[in-house]
């Protein structure tokens, strides 16, 4: 078991990011405070274009918070986030999509949920039906298009949420523990959709606790601990020989507090 008393020097070298290609995201000195508590502290992070980045770490490490900060759902207390050199704003969000752990679906049919996202993103009307059919088919939901979204099963709802996100052809797709409450079959279906999105050129940023899932998906892994990036390395290096002792303990299934 590891705890916060472990010497910092064990991890200092582990912060070296993997070799860079063109950075899509650059977050510098990112801080977030709430109720006097510093939840994210001077965090620096760079994510490459096109890769599948997986954010891991114990509960309370700040993974979901980091996702919301870089997506612009929360404003950092200090620091900056830039996507391809642009500040996070509504224009950035227009090129991004997020899928939450518990899918938030409108009280409408499955098809209407997808159409809504396309209307918001001003997808040309003549393209909408074709895109709708394409994403529903990719998600295996074409036979449920007319069903109210909220009567679908948990797995179907999550696939619909991803299909809705993909309908706007996002540059970046954020996923916050999308399979946390799903069975293996539904998890596989969701992972297939994620891979499908990546194959179409979408940058994936996935938060997960599932080490197996991270191994199946990740190109690079960001390991977080107490609001800091403890290690950011390629998936091969991270799973082969994590440099951070806490990350290795986490991978070994030991309890990291």
């Amino acid at each position: 078991m590891l705890d916060a008393a472990m010497p910092k020097s064990d991890f200092s070298a582990a912060n070296t990011p993997p070799p860079r290609r063109a950075s899509l995201l650059v977050a510098e000195g990112l801080c977030f405070e709430a109720n006097g508590h510093r939840l994210i502290a001077s965090l620096d992070l760079q994510l490459d274009q096109g890769s599948r980045s997986v954010i891991m770490g114990p509960n309370g490490a700040g993974k979901s918070l980091l996702l919301r900060l870089i997506h612009g759902l929360l404003k950092p207390s200090a620091g900056s986030v830039a996507w391809a050199g642009c500040d996070v704003g509504r224009a950035t969000k227009q090129r991004q999509a997020m899928v939450f752990q518990r899918p938030v679906l409108l009280r409408r049919s499955a098809a209407a949920n997808v159409r809504y996202a396309m209307a918001v993103h001003a997808v040309p009307r003549h393209e909408r039906e074709a895109r709708l059919q394409f994403v529903l088919q990719a998600a295996g939901l074409e036979h449920l298009a007319a069903k109210p979204a909220r009567v679908l099963s948990g797995g179907e709802q999550q696939r619909l949420a991803i299909a809705r996100a993909l309908s706007i052809r996002p540059q970046v797709l954020f996923l916050d523990e999308p399979t946390a409450s799903l069975d293996p079959a539904s998890t596989l279906a969701v992972e297939n959709l994620i891979q499908h999105a990546h194959a179409a050129g979408t940058k994936i940023v996935l938060v997960t606790h599932d080490i197996g899932q991270a191994k199946r998906i990740a190109d690079d892994v960001v390991f977080m601990y107490r609001g800091q990036v403890e290690e950011h390395s390629s998936a091969d290096k991270f799973f082969g020989n994590a440099r951070s002792a806490r990350a290795q303990a986490y991978l070994d299934g030991r309890i990291v507090l």
Binding site: H71, V104, P148
Partner: protein, 235 residues
Amino acid sequence: MQDFGAAFGLAFHLITSGDSALTEIVLLSLRVSLTAVLLACVVGLPVGAAVAVGRFRGRGLATVILNSMMGLPPVVIGLLLYLTFSNAGPLGALELLYTPGAMIVAQAVLVAPIVAALARQVIDDLHREYDEQLRSLGVGPWRTIATVLWDARYSLLTVSLAGFGRAIAEVGAVIIVGGNINHVTRVMTTAIALETSKGDLALALALGMILISIAVAVNAGVMALKATASRSAYA
């Protein structure tokens, strides 16, 4: 007891024969209350939506005030509106006192806070659920309000029916500003009060039965709406 039995018999006869005096009172009641609820919704729904979705200083206070106003005493509202509409009052020139218009205003004033407070709760709940997802999609504030209002439509219709139930059963305010004038401002509740005091139980009972039927119909409507909403998973 024989008198009561006869009064019930006569009451049924008044209803089934379509008595003109009874019909006139019922129709005026429906006109006043439906118009009042419409006005209350026009004012109350946007106010409820604004307090639910808006982020401004004093939002908590606005919520407390809205919720407190749900319990406004009708006779006090009647008295205040009486003073407002009387010849010496600030709106005396409108000559609304003792007209159906004054009764519509009185019922609207009573119902608008109910509509606003209940709508705020409904919209706030849904907005909390949708907020992050809609912001993630890049939805602007006006479209967010429109989306939440549309998706909450069944609940908001239930809110307006609850408002109608309150309006049609109201007596204290309308008797003060309407005056219960025959053929002019006599509605079901004020007529029941008058006819009971006069001892004309048949008309009072007939109106009472219709009033209760309307209350039951409103509740049935609310239940049907809820059932529809659940069937469509809109609840």
